[in-house]
Amino acid sequence: MTDFQPDVLRTTLLRAIQIERRNSELYESLASIFDDYDDSVKAMFIEMAEEERQHGTDLKQRYRARFGPVPLLIADPKEVIEAPDLPDGEALVFDSMTPEKALQAGLQAEEDARHFYSVEVTRTSDPELQQLYRELGEFEETHVRMLQDKLAQATHKTNEASR
């Protein structure tokens, strides 16, 4: 693609920051569904909300290093790209949510984001933009690995407890 404009780098990174902020709020919202209902699921969603906030802070540092002060972001991104959600519309009917499922929801969102950036690398011919997409893809990759580790630990704990 040859339709690259200088602003694209900036807006791409800003969008990534917006997504992390939105996701942090999404996790908080999901956590509140489990208020006084399932503390372990709620705690897991709150933990992930905090992680997303941290990811946002990391991305802001990258932005500052490249472009200077981060503008005040008011609107949410229009795109989904990465968004955690309940795995099932009837999860509360059957009381089937577990911390593992909460982690899986987070993992799914991170994997979606990683996939998105890996596709975007191939869609642009601009080296700078390619490099940014690669960076963001790697950024998501670390989150994927982190959640995979947490999921493995949580599953192990559950298995131990059920023995």
Partner: protein, 486 residues
């Protein structure tokens, strides 16, 4: 400018061409209906006349004649309501009965302290202020097993229910009290979700319905930070059924209260019309499989008792008049055995055979047992409709007489009290029953094919796996045909 593409297309997409051509947005086509539904008074306006009628039925049951076919509660509830519910509301309107059901009304009021308005605030998991203890329903009971056993138990005593007005009064009074008590202790509509025996079969057969309430764009739900459909807002109560619209993919537990239509900040919930029995195929648990089994066996059992030439079964079931305790015991035990063990066993056998014959090693028996059980849903519903045809065509004339004399006191309010028992075209009944049963067989086979195609993508394996369950379906149809036409 470099463009940004959506990585995932998570919109509500119909799966087949047929669904595509039929499915349409009801609110989009009739915006007036949407305006009505969004009014806070909508549900109450539907419940109110029903509530008045229902309490009038209770009065007729309490103070009216004990003769069943002369008392309004029996004739209106067990003939008219039942037929309208099973043959009309259920297949065409999903759980629209739950929209107007008067049973949980008192419980809702105790929880909300509001009839029409909505109260924002904080209660566990919601953005609304609810009253009562707001406890969590036990996880082990978060299924429909209680409803399964409850319905089976009531069905065993159905002869009492449909002949003795006072027994019907006792049942409905008990349901109102239990619903209200549970609303004070537990969150949301716990009674409806897990206890109400009517709700159990409504949830199963709602899968076939030509209506569904869904989010219009799943991406909007993914991005939604308020999740107001399940958490509520100042515009609408948190979903009383505890359903999350962002991922809802079947009708079973959506009670069509339309609160989410009011509370969604993105105006993203709509009512869709769709073809009959072609959308919700997924049975999620053994409780639902057993519900399908219980309903099918009860349709069979009722047909044997009420429609077959074998009067002995009717005498056994009719404990209140015949007092044949050993016969009643045999009837009750036989019915339970058939519904809980024999029929599920036959179905299990069919699935084992299907797995063996198709050499489907990658799929577990459990997975096939759950998935293929959808085939029992359209068949069960249509068997019930077939059973209900003579109910209305043969005994429907009682409605005309009882409407003039609801308490059986000799009144003649509309001049129809002496309308004689007049079966309507009784010679048409068997032909209609056969037609309805064959429709059930068609949709069951169609559903079976669809679920098999998902479970076993290999066409050869899929086709072989269809043989035993299809044979079972054919066998069920033949048994019903034998009962209906001899």
């Amino acid at each position: 400018m470099a463009t940004v593409q959506e990585p995932l297309a998570r919109t509500t997409q119909p799966e087949t061409e047929e669904e595509n051509s039929w499915r349409f947005d009801v609110f989009g086509r009739w915006p007036l209906l949407k305006r009505l539904v969004r009014m806070r008074s909508f549900q109450f306006a539907l419940i109110l006349p029903n509530l008045a009628l229902f309490y009038f039925f209770l009065i007729t049951g309490l103070f009216g004649t004990p003769v069943g076919n002369r008392n309004m509660i029996i004739v209106f509830v067990w003939i008219l309501w039942w037929v309208v519910l099973i043959a009309g509301l259920m297949p065409l309107g999903s759980r629209v009965w739950c929209t107007m059901c008067p049973l949980p009304f008192a419980g809702d009021w105790l929880q909300r302290r509001a009839v029409i308005g909505v109260r924002s605030g904080k209660s566990p998991g919601t953005e609304n202020r609810f009253f009562g203890l707001q406890k969590r329903w036990p996880k082990k009971l978060s299924n429909i097993w209680l409803q399964n056993f409850g319905f089976l138990f009531l069905a065993t005593f159905s002869a009492l229910l449909v002949t003795r007005p006072i027994v019907s009064v006792a049942l409905f009074a008990a349901m109102i009290i239990i619903a209200a008590g549970m609303a004070l202790v537990f969150r949301l509509r716990t009674f409806c979700n897990y206890v109400c025996p009517i709700s159990g079969f409504l949830s199963l057969y709602a899968m076939t319905s030509t209506l569904e309430l869904r989010s219009s764009d799943k991406n909007e739900c993914l991005k939604c930070k308020t999740k107001s459909c399940i958490r509520g807002s100042d515009k609408g109560w948190a979903c009383p059924w505890n359903v999350y619209m962002g991922k809802l993919d079947r009708n079973n537990y959506c009670g069509l209260c339309f609160e989410c239509v009011k509370s969604c900040p993105n105006d993203n919930i709509s009512l869709y019309a769709r073809p009959f029995a072609t959308s919700d195929y997924m049975i999620k648990g053994f409780d639902e499989v057993w519900k399908a089994s219980i309903m099918l066996v009860l349709a069979f059992s009722y047909s044997v008792v009420l429609l077959s030439p074998w009067g002995v079964f009717k005498d056994w079931a009719n404990i209140s008049e015949k007092h044949l305790w050993s016969g009643f015991g045999a009837y009750a035990a036989g019915q339970m055995l058939l519904a809980l063990i024999v029929f599920p066993g036959l179905y299990y056998l069919a699935i084992r055979l299907a797995k063996w014959y198709s050499s489907a090693n990658a799929v577990s028996v459990r997975e096939m047992f759950l998935a293929y059980s959808y085939m029992l849903v359209p068949m069960g519903l249509l068997a019930w409709i077939a059973f209900s045809i003579p109910l209305i065509m043969v005994n429907g004339s009682y409605i005309i007489s009882v409407v003039s004399d609801p308490l059986g006191w000799g009144m003649n309010l509309f001049g129809t009290a002496d309308f004689p028992w007049t079966p309507f075209k009784p010679d048409w009944v068997p032909a209609l029953q056969v037609g309805v049963l064959l429709v059930g067989l068609y949709y069951s086979l169609r559903g079976l094919y669809r679920v098999a195609s998902k479970v076993l993508p290999d066409p050869a394996q899929r086709n072989r796996s269809l043989v035993p369950p299809a044979a079972l379906l054919l066998g069920i149809t033949l048994v019903f045909l034998k009962l209906f036409i001899g």
